[in-house]
Symmetry: D2
Subunit: 317 residues, 4 copies
């Protein structure tokens, strides 16, 4: 069939997480989130969720501090990749081509204004299940039926010194479309949500406060139902994982959420959007004032203090 144009970026590709407690973090992703190790390389392992069509979702790397390494984005075509690379180069933020990792094709590396390391690629090897063959052939691999059963990576939320500058970068360099944002009374945004497809967000920038940018706020995985997230809370409780907040429903973008800290300290969200999609090609941005944000989350829960202070790497006082 003929292929058609689309957003130039199709979706978040994969994310490298750094952890100072490698074995415990690996246990978290492999045993609790039911991810599968597909490759190992140096101080890193590559893990996939059960319905990821590509080879891997998370690269977990041993490091002195928690945090985020490289984030990649997959384009919708080779031409789209070239268009994005040209745009990034023009902005002077590109750092050049590298070989992709574990099934990922040639990747063009760049940095957002805040310094987060990013890459963009088009070619991608499709996962072929072997001993994890699914019963239904329209699924990437068998449903694991253990732990939290993370279906797919959903989005990433960065802490940045300058939310506006980084958001504008996403809009221009990656063609991200804004969906929602929190306006500060003094100007600028406290947080800004962007999407590349019908999901209401794929990448978010949150104000790092002070001077501590270039950090990770959280990454999120999408299970199928809110019940999955309630069960996840029980599983994290039984396994001694720090539950920071939730389950509850965000006012912004209405996501049903649960935030935990994996053993290395990185914040991980389990996020469910129900049947909510942004199908309107011209959907107007939804802006929230600071006054409105004081109401807390959708059902009134006050946002927990650490949500505004914790990020990785953890800032030493």
């Amino acid at each position: 069939m003929t292929e058609y144009t689309s957003f130039d970026v199709a979706h978040l590709g994969n994310v490298e997480l750094l952890t100072p407690t490698f074995d415990e973090s690996l246990w978290f992703f492999r045993d609790l989130l039911a991810m599968r190790v597909v490759a190992e390389e140096g101080d890193s392992v590559f893990l996939r969720t059960w319905d990821e069509y590509q080879l891997y979702t998370i690269k977990l790397t041993a490091a002195d501090d928690a945090g985020v390494g490289r984030t990649t984005f997959r384009t919708t075509s080779q031409e789209a990749l070239e268009r994005r690379v040209a745009a990034i180069e023009k902005m002077g933020l590109g750092t050049g081509w590298v070989d992709g990792e574990v099934g990922t094709g040639p990747t063009y590396m760049f940095q957002d204004p805040d310094g987060h390391t990013m890459g963009i690629y088009y070619e991608s090897e499709r996962y072929v299940a072997t001993d994890d063959k699914p019963a239904l052939k329209n699924q990437a691999s068998a449903f694991p039926g253990r732990g939290v059963n993370a279906r797919r990576l959903d989005h990433i939320n960065y802490l940045a010194k300058d939310v506006v500058a980084n958001g504008e970068f996403v809009a221009k360099a990656l063609q991200g479309r804004e969906s929602e944002r929190i306006a500060l009374d003094e100007g600028g945004f406290a947080a800004w949500w962007f999407h590349f497809n019908n999901k209401p967000y794929d990448i978010v920038y949150s104000a790092a406060g002070l001077k501590h940018g270039n950090r990770l706020h959280h990454i999120a995985f999408a299970p199928d139902t809110r019940e999955d997230i309630l069960k996840a809370a029980d599983i994290f409780l039984e396994n001694g994982i720090h539950i920071e907040s939730g389950p509850h429903k965000h006012a912004i973008n209405q996501t049903f959420f649960l935030y935990v800290w994996e053993p290395g300290g990185n914040r991980i969200e389990l996020a469910n959007a129900g049947a909510r999609l942004l199908l309107d090609p011209d959907s107007p941005v939804v802006e929230w004032t600071q006054e409105e944000r004081k109401k807390g989350q959708a059902w009134g829960m006050k946002t927990i203090e650490t949500f505004h202070t914790h990020g990785t790497p953890i800032v030493k006082k």
Copy 2:
């Protein structure tokens, strides 16, 4: 913000349903599906779901027989509309421009090879809630909290004499991407699924059998959760609505489904996809053989006989 190219068709726009029992059908959509009447015109009322950003979703029209009237599609831009009109005209299936209805801009009318009446448009008025203002401003109107609470229209499935010809038309005229299909042993397809966005399907053609094309198999609404569909089954049961099949899970595209017949006889589906999206821009089509289809639905339920025989208008023997 800059707008970007995308699929030319954004989503199914709205659907006209014909019914020989107008009052009972209106009760079904308004009281059981919790839709809101936004306009009346001649023998028709226009109804909307609670999270539809446009003015209406269903035009319900009194008629001698049940069935589907006009189906429309919204494009992603004015240019996309022009591209699609040019393509349709070239195929000789266009019938010309008409004024859109109830908030819908200029609409170009055409027919699929099977004779189903269709329209395509770009301009669309956005719904502004008045007495149905939602608590969260990123929602089209208040959650009704009654009956089945249909959130949004999801897809349409047509009965056609020639599935292949009509599917190819969708691919060429509307740039639909195929997601799954059932191959017949003797060649051709028993059914073919197409999508315009990250949902795995928006429009489907099913073999009408015999000579009875140009009919409706069903339209589907998307509630948020599978639990919503289980509750819907209770509500339909209490209200004497014919439950044809389900709740169960389709093998194809893995939709959790419930099929009922609204009082006029049109088949209505409640469909939930969980967190399943087609994010892969190159997702290969999944083809099922007749042998594979014999296994029935995902969890083994045999497909009910009327699923292959009932459509609207109902064929008089």
Copy 3:
């Protein structure tokens, strides 16, 4: 505590709630909880949940202040009633027989040590559905399919000056079996849970603090699923009902909960226990220390301050 081989009390009978905003409270119970008015008498209406086998569940009475009026208990037999009356009389807390209300037989009135008004009865008229006939005849009436669809009353939680004295009264007078309790470091209990059947609690006493006993902490209704409670939160949000806390899971007795204040000020809980039942006839009491309670609720949410201070009637400072 004494062990019993069977229960004389079958379940909580019904509860009278007092409200200073009668019309708004009636709207809450009838329109949001989907209860049905079965009788009116003076300043009161009698309402039932859809799967209550008796005639009514809540008597709603206009009053200057919110609070709880009479709570009744139904016994398992006439002999059980006589045994309980004899026990109460012996304790000197009985106030004599009255005619029951709206389908309730002769009722023996008494007070708990804290002064809450209570009644006990055996004879009870069974509800016969008329225009609310259910599709399945093993159900009291049709599933309403609107708002929160409260299935049945679940439990009552009183604020009392002396938790120990009142708990011992429940154990002796009503043969309540304790299930869980919070022990204070200085002795006594902060709260004490009792049950009359396989549900883990039917009546609870919570420390009123200070000198403000004889009040209501909350009453709870049981919907079928946790999803029902999540939907309820959306419905309360849309309707401007104060959501105090939740949805979340209690550590104690593991109930999935949502607390709201009905317009009159009375705290109402929606509570779901999943498949958890106390089937063990000798189940040992589970005691929690103050230290353990500091962990907050099951998934770590800190208990909201008003949960310890708000009760009805509201204490004027």
Copy 4:
């Protein structure tokens, strides 16, 4: 039927299942239902569900044919045990006292009129978690977070030649209270449901048809939610377990169900009742006619043929 003011039997104690494919059956219960092996003895292993307060739930025994071995019942007290034993002895169906197994005290053995082997006991050792300590101390052991996570045994359904005779035996010998039944047009019952507590059924007799009594129809486990049962269907599908019927909702007693055959051939149900309990001490029996049963299950699914023909041991033609 005689009415009782209290129950001498507290609940189903445990069930011995026979299997011709011991290793595969053990895998099913241990790995898919997430049960834990607590003891082994000869050709048997003893397994427990995660929230069972006793030591074990299922005794799995290698045998030539599938089927049910001994079923036991726990009484509410020692006196209750003595009363039941006296009643059984008077009926001439007792076979004498034996030592209980794996934490179970002295057990009086007997047979129902159809020949099923049964035992009754009171003393029971309570499970003390070690490496499976739960995070919340009001739970028997940690939530396993794998497979189907069966919480507790729910009920047993026997195939018997004479449903009436066996039901009357349950009523007289065990003080079971009938909740629902299917009346045959020609007299007698096609199936009869009995309960010992607030659950609507603990033991059921179904007509074996022909001359093949003394068999097992199924045993059922209770997960917490309907969503658990939908996930269970996915897990059984992925693991090649034969799904016979469901998920769907029974008209009788309104249970949300899923029936599978464990590898040995025994039918296993996953059953969820929502918040439905029989709290009415005088709840009248609900009787269904054969005409009413023709409507199929609650949402209209026709009962699958094997539900009326398959039982264990499997009848060889």
